[in-house]
Subunit: 163 residues, 2 copies
DNA sequence: GTTGAAGTTAAAGTGAACTTGAGCGCAAGG
DNA sequence: CCTTGCGCTCAAGTTCACTTTAACTTCAAC
């Protein structure tokens, strides 16, 4: 690998649109790799741009860093990834998007029938029903999957209420 | 208001499904109100249940506390809100959901045409294009609205890159 | 009267995905 | 040579929507 072909941090930030801090973070998380110059500066191979593109796209679809890491891990490490490789690992995104769309449709459905009637009752209204507390637990389709719930870091499971 | 009609914290947690800490938080944020007993315990009017229902539903749609506060602020404060009031303030949620659905459809479309071809190019691929850096800023439909972008607290605007 | 459950406060903690800041070294251009 | 700016590391800060903890007080039942 001719050092001529390696990119500086500045080049990567301007070509990828990511901040330098984000790029360092991705490196620290093992999503991308960097060589070092003799004086310790990062030097990137061109393929990081493609990886960064994938990272942005995946993150737009809602994947976490953890998930992105594991998807990137499926790339071949003995050769340069080709179209088919990228295609393979992003294939099931369509399914995830379909699920998200379906969830929103369900929510809208509930909105029409429930708020449309002005009830918003905690007891009978599935829309505002906590789902675990009043209804049977885990029964029936959740209105929203976790990926679309505004991710409250500390609210890992549904609120269990006071013991 | 007969104190007989007021509810204790325990009653509200079990009827609403929210944890006591969440209820105190909502009170501190001004989303709900509480009276106090002579010894300092909270006493809630029945209408908080309806408000809490609204809060859960709104939060499922993806509204922030800030937005919920302002929506609740539109309720009449001189009389008990009625069906029409609740209906009015939740009316445009359907539109928001439609926008979210449309955004996901666009994303899926992009996925089909862009990742389908294996390109993922930072230059030509709208799917992974940062949108502000490479493309004209603010032009064209965003693939994802802010409500569906995984909300990175510190990333308020799109990354501006290195000056 | 004693006990345990339920309530109170204020302050600190949580998690993700980064950003910001302090305090450095190094590089390139005039 | 000197400045300007890019780059480095490591630690700490940020946001949101709560939860958890510590240290009490009060209520209800026995």
């Amino acid at each position: 690998m001719d050092p001529r072909d390696l990119m500086s941090m500045g080049e990567v930030t301007s070509r990828s649109g990511f901040a330098a801090s984000a790029i360092r973070y991705y490196e620290s998380e093992g999503l991308i790799e960097a060589h070092r110059s003799s004086t310790g500066q990062r030097r990137f191979e061109r393929n990081v741009l493609r990886r960064l593109g994938f990272i942005r796209a995946a993150s737009n679809v809602g994947l976490s860093i953890e998930e992105i890491r594991s998807e990137l891990g499926r790339l071949p490490d003995n050769r340069t990834p080709n179209k088919a490789d990228w295609h393979r690992i992003s294939k099931h995104w369509a399914r995830r998007l379909d699920e998200q769309i379906a969830a929103l449709e369900r929510l809208k459905q509930g909105l029409d029938s429930c708020i449309g009637c002005g009830c918003l009752s905690l007891r009978s209204c599935a829309f505002s029903n906590p789902g675990d507390v009043v209804g049977a637990r885990g029964q029936g389709a959740q209105l929203l999957p976790d990926t679309l719930r505004r991710p409250h870091p500390t609210r890992r499971a549904a609120p269990t209420g006071p013991a």
